[in-house]
Symmetry: C2
DNA sequence: CCAATATATGAGCAAGCGGTTAAATAACCT
DNA sequence: AGGTTATTTAACCGCTTGCTCATATATTGG
């Protein structure tokens, strides 16, 4: 319940499919349920709850229906997290080379510690 | 086993911590284990396996040690997935407005279908 | 108010996951 | 070869997750 994070929310393929669906436009809960014929209505409702908690979707109440929209908030966190690594990609191979060299040099001297 | 995806791999906080660690440079398995005193060595090893399967890390064998590096491959998939949504963010609120308007208009005519 | 509509919640169950201890595998060093 | 070091795999266990059917909670329209 409290442990719902963006990362765990998008771990489930069905929930990613829901996001893909909402990316094409807003839909009420029933409309989403209809797109997943292999699932029951309560099943989809549960997934929507998780997406809500992760702030990946937003709900607008309109009479009895809940209209779901993609929510930038949760996605921003995720984007930020990935971007951190992306900035560093080009250097990874070099880093490995440096690490191996350093280890090779250190091996001759070590065996003192621990 | 077969169901290991980038998304499920990063769902676990410990695995994200491992990635954060490797972002600062390569490390052998033992070096990673040492950074997680609350976990046992086999525990960490299993997390590393998941990260491997998700192509989020790369392994270089050097004698008995396995040196882990961040792997751009898996991260690229994830970045691509998020970017798809990011491109669409500015329009989401507008989309909701249009949806509500459309429904309001349609309501007067509908009730024929179903 | 009452029946219908739209969605969420409760209860229960099977499968998956993260964790541990114990054992297997592999490569180094005398 | 034999012991030590580094890491993975096996076996098991409790907790979480996702699913289902059944039931609750709104809200609308007659």
């Amino acid at each position: 319940m409290t442990g719902t994070t963006v990362f765990s929310a998008i771990a489930d393929p069905t929930r990613r499919a829901v996001l893909d669906l909402l990316a094409r436009g807003p839909r009420n809960a029933g409309g989403i349920v209809r797109e997943f014929p292999r699932l029951t209505q309560p099943g989809v409702s549960r997934h929507l709850k998780v997406l809500r908690e992760a702030k990946l979707v937003q709900v607008t109440v309109r009479a009895q229906e809940r209209i779901y929209t993609i929510n930038p908030e949760g996605l921003a966190d995720l984007y930020e997290w990935v971007a951190k690594y992306q900035a560093m990609w080009p250097d990874t191979l070099d880093a490995l080379g440096r690490y191996l060299d350093a280890r090779a040099a250190g091996d001759k001297v070590k065996r003192k510690k621990r």
